[in-house]
């Protein structure tokens, strides 16, 4: 027979990323999460232009009203439009989530990669330090920092980021350690490839998967931490607002005006949902052990 028919049926090679995308596309919940997240980010970016009312626009005479045609999500006790407030609050919540995670990512990846790649005594000391830090009551330290230095947004980013890097460092270190001993890295060495090419071509792409997955799962826990602090009145400070702060206000008046609690609550929960489902989906998709079909 001719060789063309064999070629046609032969499996086309796919890269890890193509594989992952194929698998992720089949996970409906993860896709919904991804879509929701993109939607939220776009809305947050465009809030200054698309918010239905001004951020400080209030109507004291109107006061709190339930959802209506003019105010889709109702108004708060100062007559401020809730949709507008939730949109502006979401900007802060998402920003804290992304920036604090980026801080954690930067510290964790560098720390873990150095420990894993250098190995030996350096690694032992570095990981011992991580173990010690794990044992500290960090939530309490963040509260302490906010009390001592005042409630400052920048400080909040770094305080949360400085707490969340530990697990990232462990993951990256483990990954790098195991990669260093793999045959394909040894093969690359014996082929005479330079250290830098090995790191770039083999180590980084193979660590990327777990790092992406863990990053996706860190963002919701960071957002939760911010909301938690704001709820206690120790995080974001008015006139800035975040979903946690809106929930805090909502609780105070929930008997008379339950929508002031429910809508910010839905916004926060949905976002956490989206991020968690996307993270779980990515974990399954980037795991080479799961079949792609």
């Amino acid at each position: 027979m001719n060789s063309n028919s064999i070629d046609a049926t032969a499996e086309k090679g796919t890269s890890l990323w193509e594989d992952a995308w194929i698998k992720l596309r089949k996970n409906r919940l993860a896709l919904i999460g991804l879509g929701l997240l993109i939607f939220l980010c776009v809305v947050s970016l465009l809030t200054p232009w698309i918010a239905p009312y001004g951020y400080e626009e209030q109507d004291l005479l109107m006061g709190a009203t339930p959802p209506s045609a003019e105010h889709w999500l109702g108004t708060d006790i100062f007559g401020r439009d809730m949709l507008t407030r939730i949109m502006w609050g979401g900007r802060v919540s998402l920003m804290v989530g992304f920036i604090a995670t980026a801080v954690a990512l930067a510290i964790g990846v560098i720390y873990g990669a150095v420990a894993g790649y250098v190995g030996g005594r350096v690694d032992a000391v570095m990981m011992r330090l991580v173990d010690i830090l794990y044992a500290l009551p960090f939530m309490i330290f963040i509260i302490l920092l906010m009390v001592v230095f005042g409630r400052n947004l920048l400080l909040l980013f770094f305080a949360i980021g400085a707490v969340e890097w530990l697990t990232m460092a462990r993951i990256v270190r483990g990954q790098v350690m195991s990669l260093r001993k793999q045959e394909f890295v040894e093969a690359a060495h014996s082929l005479g490839l330079s250290q830098w090419i090995i790191i770039r071509r083999h180590i980084i792409p193979n660590t990327l998967g777990p790092v992406i997955v863990y990053t996706t799962l860190t963002i919701p826990s960071v957002m939760l931490l911010e909301a938690f602090l704001s709820f206690l009145g120790l995080g974001i400070q008015p006139p800035q607002s975040s979903w946690g702060l809106l929930i805090n206000y909502g609780v105070e008046t929930m008997e008379e005006y339950p929508w002031l609690l429910i809508f910010p609550g839905i916004a926060l929960s949905l976002t956490l949902f989206a991020l968690n489902f996307l993270g779980d989906g990515l974990r399954d998709a980037l795991d080479p052990r799961t079949a792609k079909d």
């Binding site: 010690i132 206690l232 120790l234 008997e255």
Partner: protein
């Protein structure tokens, strides 16, 4: 086992020292003294107060004497509640918080393990999806949202349960325990599902099946012990989270526990109280991590051998 525990206990000492030093330095670098908030305090009164609380001494001297006091278990006086010591305040709140945490943990373990084991028995069926989706909701529903919603539904609309207080009306412990426990139930469900799935595919389970043991015996006697190791390992860190959760739950339900004291101390800038509770929390967390590690070693024969080899 004893040497393992002793070794870990010795390691805890430098960690605690770091915690005390960091907290002490942070608190003392705070702008404004604890009395500067109250306006119009005459200078001589301020001096007298500072002398009373040793604030007029150089920092290192204060640190040394504080360290000495802490080693003897004395956390010093409270700045905001004159005449009461931090020890008294911690002692008065500890029982309540411990009780709340205990009930919350019961709720979490009971619901979590049942949901996780149920899900692991028939993976990728409805019996798996339903409890796991519920667990995802539990994880995404923070306690400061779940609590008020429960109050709104069961306390205000249905009027089934009291909405605040502790130990005053029968049933006032139910909502706080559920609020605090739900998030942990969700994590425990996921962990126990994962652990059980791992164990159920092992050879000794196949052997048990081949012997013709009932499913109940297989799960209850053979699989559970290994399958719950991740859950046990989670209990130590969970305890730390439980303390944090108690801040929120005690604030929502107005429970006079340690968590509420801490948040109030943070608001009042009651520095000695913050310092004392932080040190106390850190000690507790380290202790519970140690206990959870020891339990994990005891449950897992492989780890037990490793520990023996080291010891």
């Amino acid at each position: 086992m004893f040497r393992f525990a002793l070794g870990r206990l010795l390691q805890a000492i430098p960690v605690l020292l770091v915690v005390i030093t960091m907290t002490f330095m942070l608190v003392h670098s705070a702008p404004g003294g604890p009395f500067s908030a109250d306006k119009a305090v005459p200078a001589e009164v301020l001096e007298a107060l500072e002398a009373q609380y040793n604030l007029d001494q150089p920092l290192w001297q204060q640190y040394i004497s504080y360290l000495g006091d802490v080693v003897q278990g004395d956390m010093g006086p409270s700045f905001k509640y004159p005449g009461r010591s931090v020890n008294e305040l911690i002692y008065s709140g500890l029982g309540t918080t411990a009780e709340l945490g205990f009930y919350a943990m019961l709720v979490a373990i009971f619901i979590g393990v049942i949901a996780g084991v149920t899900a692991s028995m028939r993976p990728n069926t409805m019996q798996d999806y339903v409890p796991m989706t519920a667990a995802m909701i539990g994880i995404c529903m923070p306690s400061f949202l779940l609590g008020p919603l429960l109050v709104l539904v069961f306390g205000i609309h249905l009027e089934w349960l009291p909405v605040s207080g502790w130990n005053q009306i029968p049933g006032d412990k139910i909502l706080p325990a559920i609020t605090l426990g739900t998030g942990y139930a969700a994590y425990i469900a996921r962990l126990s599902r994962g652990g059980m799935l791992e164990v159920l595919s092992q050879d000794y389970i196949r052997t048990a099946r081949a012997k013709g043991l009932s499913e109940f015996l297989i799960i209850g006697k053979h699989a559970l012990r290994g399958g719950l190791i991740p859950v046990v390992a989670f209990l130590g860190p969970a305890f730390a989270g439980l303390l944090g959760g108690s801040f929120v739950v005690e604030t929502i339900y107005q429970i006079p526990g340690l968590g509420r004291f801490y948040v109030q101390a943070a608001f009042n800038r009651d520095y000695t109280m913050i310092l004392g509770t932080t040190v106390f929390f850190a000690t507790l967390i380290i202790l519970f991590n140690l206990l959870s590690d020891m339990l994990a070693v005891w449950l897992n024969p492989k780890l037990r051998q490793q520990v023996r080899g080291e010891g």
